[in-house]
């Protein structure tokens, strides 16, 4: 490998790591046995959320249908010049191995902080390929057509610092330490092949804070994601997973990742009623203005006695609405909250992650309608945009991306 590896033999680290891991497990179970396994009373692995595992291997990659974990780090890379198909294969074998181990709660090979790998906390590592990846691999013919930079929208204020990318690693877990450790391992192992382009880190409600199947609020105070297709339903599969027979397509999906800055200062000036008119839903229950509970079907034809529609034409709900399952998108959005400016102005918003089988059929029409007219645009600005193909899954012993590269 390259010269910037630490001057310790891999075997020593492996052995040492295994001993440490084994010792920690042994110590942990001894302590747990002695204390009855109560959280906070021992130094070993907690018997609850920390050891939960999301399987890495399968026909489809984890991290899409997976119930959204509390923390996410989206890391985009730019491939180093001269990276070719063979080099990409080496990289993906290594990173897939890292991901398979870490998601099981095992240290990666040559993991310099093996202890930090022991609590996987439902870790998922999801691989995405940008247009540049296909070009470097000499596989442009296998790239889905809409995996390309999106057309420009009038509302965009895209910054190159948050846009594009050849390779994406989406790292999610219910614990921030787990995400940090996985990110460190993967970034180090990617170093010979690629440079870090951007990292977008986000959060949702912590594990155990609320019912995981319930829609969560975003930083506008708005319930965000009501109309999402539910995992495990035919509607979800239709919307998200590709079914073309080609092995590099079957079980894949696409990801549009938009960084959306919220104007919280301006949003402050809106009264509650005005906010609900802008969104088209009640803030407390998420019910459409024509309904009483969150999942009520909105009635866009309902009018007040004076003739105005109850749900405004310009409401976000109206503009984003789609009817057919194959037009829906899966939003698996995280919140970001960077440090405020000296005068307290917020730097917060959404890491808007949208998964769909076909960007052109599903994502673009919605985004176009929103860009043309959606009053919520007054308080949101897209400042980053990136598009990736989410590769099919891999079986045990295999690696992500093999179907594309071989």
């Amino acid at each position: 490998m390259s010269a910037d590896r630490p001057a310790v033999s891999r075997r020593r680290l492996l052995t040492g790591g295994a001993l440490v891991a084994g010792g920690a497990l042994a110590a942990g179970s001894a302590v747990a046995a002695a204390t009855g396994g109560r959280p906070g009373t021992g130094t070993g692995p907690v018997a609850h959320y920390g050891t939960d595992v999301e399987p890495f291997h399968g026909e489809r990659q984890a991290g899409v249908a997976t119930i959204a974990q509390a923390y996410a780090s989206f890391v985009a890379f730019t491939l180093r010049p001269g990276t070719d198909r063979e080099t990409l294969a080496r990289m993906l074998r290594l990173l897939s191995d890292d991901a398979a181990r870490l998601t099981r709660g095992e240290p990666a090979l040559a993991d310099t902080e093996a202890e930090l790998a022991l609590l996987p906390a439902r870790l998922t590592v999801t691989f995405g390929f940008g247009p540049g990846f296909y070009t470097a691999a000499g596989r442009d013919d296998r790239r889905p057509e809409s995996v390309a930079p999106l057309p420009a929208f009038a509302i965009d204020r895209l910054e190159p610092a948050w846009s594009g990318g050849d390779l994406l690693l989406q790292i999610c877990a219910d614990d921030a330490m787990t995400v940090a450790h996985a990110q460190r391992v993967l970034v180090k192992d990617a170093r010979p092949f690629a440079t870090v382009r951007w990292v977008q880190q986000g959060f949702r409600r912590g594990r155990g804070i609320t019912d995981p199947t319930q829609t969560q609020h975003n930083l506008f105070g708005q319930l965000d994601g009501t109309a999402n297709p539910a995992a495990g339903t035919p509607a979800f599969d239709t919307a998200v997973w590709r079914t073309e027979p080609e092995p590099w397509l079957y079980g894949s999906t696409t990801l549009v990742l938009r960084r959306i800055r919220m104007d919280l200062e301006g949003w402050d000036l809106l009264g509650r009623t005005e906010r609900e008119l802008v969104v088209g839903r009640r803030l407390d229950t998420g019910a459409p203005l024509t309904g009483t509970s969150e999942h009520d079907e909105p009635d866009f034809a309902a009018r007040h006695a004076n003739g105005l529609t109850v749900i405004p034409d310009f409401a976000h709900l109206t503009r984003a609405r789609v009817g057919e399952d194959n037009q829906k998108i899966l939003r698996r959005t995280y919140n970001y909250d960077a440090a405020p400016a000296a005068d307290g102005t917020a730097d917060s918003g959404l890491i808007f992650a949208s998964y769909q089988a076909d960007i052109a059929r599903q994502f673009l029409p919605i985004q176009q309608r929103l860009a043309e007219a959606d009053l919520l645009n007054e308080w949101t600005v897209p400042i980053g945009s990136a598009v990736f193909a989410i590769a099919p899954g891999c079986r045990t012993g295999d690696w992500i991306g093999r179907q594309l590269l071989e």
């Binding site: 301006g266 000036l269 809106l270 009623t273 005005e274 008119l277 802008v278 009018r303 007040h304 006695a305 004076n306 003739g307 105005l308 529609t309 405004p312 034409d313 310009f314 043309e372 007219a373 009053l375 007054e378 308080w379």
Partner: protein
């Protein structure tokens, strides 16, 4: 330990001069707030309407014209005209500057009509309201017997609007605060100048 302005050293007179200018500026600002012109940050509101509110017409109008205080955004301008049978009449509004025009068809039944609007101010805030007028063309068809006449009582949305040219609550609060500050500044500097060494 303050002294009368005339006996202050040069720097003290400069301070007193600055204070006087500040008071004058505060006074000017307070006057601006009271002035009738709509400040840029105010919400859009209806200035005038044809047919006018609560009037009874003896001839069918060709169109409804709403004139607002500020320019309209055509993307976010809605005007509905609802007839005595609770059905909407007229075309989608045509927007030009601060004016929205709804072309009405030929056949309008007699009875009560409600004009409602929903527009967006320059700061993005939605504003909505409505009013009524009555059509009573002699010899024309009577209003439909089955439907109840809509009242001209204000609709629940009216609380969001500034239909008239009245000043909003925010403006009033700002004026009161400015005048209080002005009054305190005047008293403070008056007291300073009155103290003898």
């Amino acid at each position: 330990m303050t002294v009368a302005p005339s006996s202050l050293p040069a720097s003290g007179r400069a301070v007193a001069g600055r204070a006087a200018r500040l008071v004058a500026a505060a006074l000017a600002a307070a006057l601006l707030l009271v002035a009738p012109a709509a400040p840029a940050w105010a919400h859009n509101s209806l200035k005038s309407a044809t047919p006018a509110a609560d009037t009874t017409l003896t001839g069918a109008p060709q169109e409804v014209v709403l004139e607002f205080m500020s320019s309209l955004n055509p993307q976010y301008t809605t005007v509905t005209v609802t007839g005595p049978d609770q059905q909407q009449v007229g075309a989608a509004p045509e927007v030009s500057g601060a004016r929205a025009t709804v072309a009405l068809g030929d056949t309008l039944a007699n009875g009560a009509y409600t004009v409602a609007y929903r527009v967006v101010s320059s700061d993005g805030h939605p504003v909505q309201g409505s009013y009524a007028f009555t059509l009573a063309v002699p010899g024309a068809a009577a209003p439909p017997a089955t439907s109840a006449q809509p009242t001209t009582a204000p609709t629940p949305e009216a609380e969001l609007t500034a239909d008239s040219t009245g000043v909003s609550g925010v403006t009033i609060a700002a004026i009161v605060i400015a005048l209080l500050l002005l009054a305190s500044a005047i008293v403070f500097f008056w007291l300073r100048s009155r103290r003898t060494p």
